[in-house]
C-alpha cells in the first residue's frame, strides 16, 4: 500500500471502513497501481480477500506485492487470500472442457449469458466460516478488471448484475468491501464501457480516477488522481467531496502532490 495514498484517503489498515464499494477507474493511463495498493492494503488490514485477477498472471501481482511489503503466496497458503487466476483458468476451460460449473464458464458459450458461476465462486470464497479461531476482519472482493469481461463477450448489464449481487452479499450481508477497476474508454465511443462505468459510478461510495495528463507524457508527473467521496442512494446528502492530486509512480511507492507542485518543478 502507498502510505501517501492512505493519508489522502484518510484511512489506515486498522481503521478501514466496511460495507463500501470502491470504484477504480483509469482514462488514458494505466491505473493498475491502484489495484496493487488496495490488494496490499486489505491484506495488511487482516481481511479475507478474494482476488479475481483477470488480466495478469499471479506472479506479476506477487512480485509487485513483495515490493509493497506483502507476500501473496504466504497469504494464499494461510487462507487469507483466494485468487482466481483468470488467464490460467481461461486456458484450462477453453481447451479442456470441464464437467462442473467453472467461474469462467461464459468463455465456452456462444452468447455469454451471465456471471452466475463467477458470483458463486466469490460467494464460496468469502463465506464467513464459524470455526472458532480468530476470524479475518471482513471479506473483501477485488476485481482486476471488469472491462476485460466486456471484451470477452459479457454484456454490460450482466456485469452490473454481478456487481450488484456481490454488493448485496459482500457489502450488505457480510459487511465487507468491494473494489473493482474499470477502464474509461474516453473518446473511443465504447457504449458498453460507458454503460458499465456510469452504472458503477452511481453505486460507489468512493471513486478513484487516474487520468493521464491532458498535455501528454511527462517524465516527472505520470498522471492525475481524482478522489470522489459519495453517499449513494441517500436523498439528503451534503455535497460530494472531491480532491485532485498529481502523482508520480516510483519503484516501490507512488508519491502524490498538489497540482503543479511536482518536486521537479519547484
Amino acid at each position: 500500500m502507498f502510505p501517501e495514498l492512505n493519508n489522502l484517503l484518510n484511512t489506515t489498515p486498522e481503521g478501514a471502513e466496511q460495507g463500501k464499494l470502491t470504484l477504480l477507474c483509469d482514462a488514458k493511463t494505466d491505473g493498475s497501481f491502484l489495484v496493487h495498493h488496495f490488494l496490499s492494503f486489505y491484506l495488511k488490514a487482516n481481511c479475507k480477500v478474494c482476488f479475481v485477477a483477470l488480466v495478469q498472471s499471479f506472479s506479476h501481482y506477487n512480485m509487485v506485492g513483495q515490493k509493497l511489503g506483502v507476500s501473496l503466496t504466504t497469504a494464499r497458503e494461510r487462507g487469507q487470500l483466494v485468487v482466481l487466476e483468470g488467464l490460467k483458468s481461461a486456458v484450462d476451460i477453453f481447451f479442456r472442457p470441464q464437467e462442473e460449473p467453472h467461474p469462467l464458464q461464459f468463455l465456452r458459450e456462444a452468447n455469454a449469458g451471465d456471471l452466475q458461476p463467477l458470483y458463486a465462486f466469490v460467494r464460496d470464497a468469502l463465506e464467513p466460516v464459524d470455526c472458532g479461531e480468530a476470524a479475518w476482519r471482513c471479506p473483501v472482493l477485488l476485481v482486476d478488471d471488469l472491462s476485460v469481461l466486456l471484451s470477452l463477450g459479457v454484456g454490460p448489464v450482466a456485469v452490473l448484475d454481478f456487481v450488484h449481487y456481490c454488493r448485496a452479499t459482500v457489502c450488505r450481508e457480510w459487511k465487507g468491501n468491494v473494489v473493482a477497476l474499470v477502464h474509461d474508454s474516453g473518446d473511443a465511443e465504447d457504449e458498453e464501457s460507458d454503460v458499465l462505468l456510469n452504472g458503477l459510478s452511481h453505486q460507489s461510495h468512493l471513486i478513484l480516477r487516474a487520468e493521464g495528463l491532458a498535455t501528454g507524457f511527462c517524465k516527472d508527473v505520470h498522471g492525475q488522481l481524482r478522489i470522489l467521496w459519495r453517499r449513494p442512494l441517500q436523498p439528503t446528502t451534503p455535497r460530494d467531496r472531491s480532491l485532485t492530486y498529481q502523482y508520480k509512480i516510483q519503484d516501490k511507492s507512488v508519491s502524490f502532490f498538489a497540482k503543479g507542485m511536482s518536486p521537479a518543478v519547484l
Partner: protein, 394 residues
C-alpha cells in the same frame, strides 16, 4: 547466484527466488535460477537460453525483436510471455518488414518458430526473410577463425565459404548465435541452410480450414479457434510450457501471426461497424495471452487496425496486448510532400509498453520517432527538427 548477478539487481533477487521456487508451473516471469523441479539448491544452475537476456530493471527475460533500435525503445527487448502488436501502416508495406525481422532473429538465435498467416504460405514467408549482416567488429574475430580453419581441409567450407565469416559460437547448431540482436540485409535473402536447420511450424489458414471440423459453439471464428488449438498443441507437445521436465535444453517459441483481424481470417471486424463476431478477436487475444504467460514464448502480431471501423474495438485490442507499436507511413498522405519529413518514410508510435512485475516501466525519452527504409536497412531515428542532426537510436 550468477544469473541474478548478471542482471545487476541482486538485492531483490532472493525474495522473488522464494516466490519462484514455490510455484510448480513454469511462468515466463520467473528469474533464471533453481526451479522446484529437482534442481539442486546448492549449486546455481545457470540456465541461459540462446538469444535471450535478462532485463536490466527487473530480471525479466527478454528476446530481441530483430531490430536493435526497436529493442532499445522497448526497454531492452520484448519480454518473453508477451505480445507485440504492430498496427500496420496503410498499405502494409513496412509492417511485414518488422514481422520478418522478428522471425529472422528467431532463426539466427536458434529459437523455434510458429508462423501463422491467412494470406501467404509460411514456407514462402520464411524464404523471403532477410539475411543476417556481419558487421566490421565481427570481421576481426572471424579473420582469426578463418586462419585456424585453414589447417583442416574442409571441402564443404570451400563452397559455402561465407559460413567461415559467421562467428563461432558454443551453442548447438551451425548458425545459432549467443549475441542479442542482429542486423539484417533486406536486399538479400536468408541462406537456405539456415532455414533448413531451424525448427519451424507453419499455420496456413486455407489448408487448415478446408478439413472438416466439428462446429463448436464458442463465438470464436473457426480460423481463430483452429489457430489457438494449433498454438496450444505446439506449446504442449514441444514442452514450451515446462510440462516436459526431461527436456534439458530450454528454448523460446517465437509466434508470428500476420494480418490478424483481416477478412481473410474470417473476421468481419474490418468490414462493418457492428458485426456479429465483434468479440471474436478480443477473446482470441485473451486466450493467447493466457497461453503465452504460461510458456516460454513471445508473439508478434500485425493487425490492420486502420481498417477496424469500431474505435472501441481498437481500444480493447490495445488493452489486451502488451506492447503496441503503430506504423504510419507517409505514402499517399499530405506528409509525403512536407519538407519536414523529406528524409523519412514514416512515423513510429510506441503506443503502449507493459508494466511487468513492476509498478514502473522503461520508457525512452525520445517521443517523436521516424523510420526510414534504406536499401539494406530499416532505421529508426528520433526526429527533432530543432536539433541540427537526427538522433540515431542505434
Amino acid at each position: 547466484m550468477a544469473a541474478a548477478g548478471t542482471c545487476g539487481t541482486g538485492t531483490r533477487s532472493t525474495g522473488s527466488m522464494v516466490a519462484a521456487a514455490s510455484t510448480n508451473n513454469v511462468t515466463s516471469f520467473q528469474r533464471r535460477g533453481p526451479r522446484a523441479s529437482g534442481a539442486d539448491s546448492g549449486c546455481s544452475r545457470l540456465v541461459s537460453i540462446a538469444g535471450t537476456r535478462p532485463s536490466v530493471r527487473n530480471g525479466q527475460l527478454l528476446v530481441s525483436t530483430g531490430l536493435p533500435a526497436l529493442d532499445q525503445l522497448l526497454g531492452g527487448g520484448l519480454a518473453v510471455g508477451t505480445v507485440l502488436l504492430i498496427e500496420e501502416d496503410k498499405y502494409n508495406i513496412y509492417s511485414p518488414l518488422l514481422f520478418k525481422y522478428f522471425l529472422a532473429e528467431g532463426i539466427v538465435s536458434g529459437h523455434a518458430l510458429l508462423v501463422a498467416s491467412a494470406k501467404e504460405d509460411p514456407a514462402d514467408i520464411l524464404q523471403k526473410l532477410p539475411a543476417p549482416l556481419i558487421d566490421d567488429s565481427y570481421k576481426k574475430e572471424c579473420d582469426e577463425d578463418v586462419c585456424s580453419h585453414k589447417m583442416e581441409p574442409d571441402i564443404k567450407m570451400k563452397i559455402a565459404w561465407r559460413y567461415q565469416l559467421l562467428p563461432k559460437m558454443e551453442q548447438a547448431g551451425p548458425v545459432s548465435s549467443s549475441r542479442f540482436g542482429h542486423y539484417y540485409d533486406i536486399s538479400k535473402r536468408i541462406p537456405q541452410e539456415l532455414i533448413e536447420t531451424s525448427k519451424w511450424h507453419g499455420f496456413f489458414l486455407p489448408e487448415k480450414i478446408s478439413s472438416a471440423f466439428n462446429v463448436e459453439s464458442c463465438s470464436l471464428t473457426p480460423g481463430y479457434m483452429k489457430l489457438l488449438q494449433f498454438i496450444q498443441n505446439i506449446i504442449y507437445k514441444e514442452g514450451f510450457d515446462g510440462s516436459n521436465p526431461q527436456k534439458k535444453q530450454k528454448n523460446i517459441l517465437r509466434i508470428g501471426i500476420q494480418n490478424l483481424g483481416s477478412p481473410l481470417w474470417g473476421d468481419d471486424i474490418c468490414c462493418t461497424e457492428n458485426c456479429d463476431t465483434s468479440h471474436s478477436l478480443t477473446k482470441f487475444l485473451y486466450i493467447l495471452r493466457g497461453l503465452l504467460r504460461t510458456s516460454l514464448s513471445a508473439c508478434i502480431i500485425t493487425m490492420p487496425t486502420h481498417l477496424i471501423q469500431n474505435k472501441a474495438v481498437i481500444a480493447r485490442v490495445t488493452n489486451l496486448s502488451d506492447t503496441v507499436v503503430g506504423l504510419e507511413s507517409f505514402i499517399g498522405s499530405e506528409k509525403e510532400t512536407n519538407p519536414l519529413y523529406k528524409d523519412y518514410h514514416g512515423l513510429i508510435h510506441i503506443r503502449q509498453i507493459p508494466r511487468l512485475n513492476n509498478l514502473i516501466y522503461d520508457i525512452s525519452d525520445v517521443k517523436d520517432l521516424a523510420f526510414k527504409l534504406k536499401k539494406k536497412l530499416f532505421t529508426i531515428e528520433g526526429w527533432r527538427k530543432c536539433l541540427s542532426f537526427p538522433l540515431e537510436i542505434s
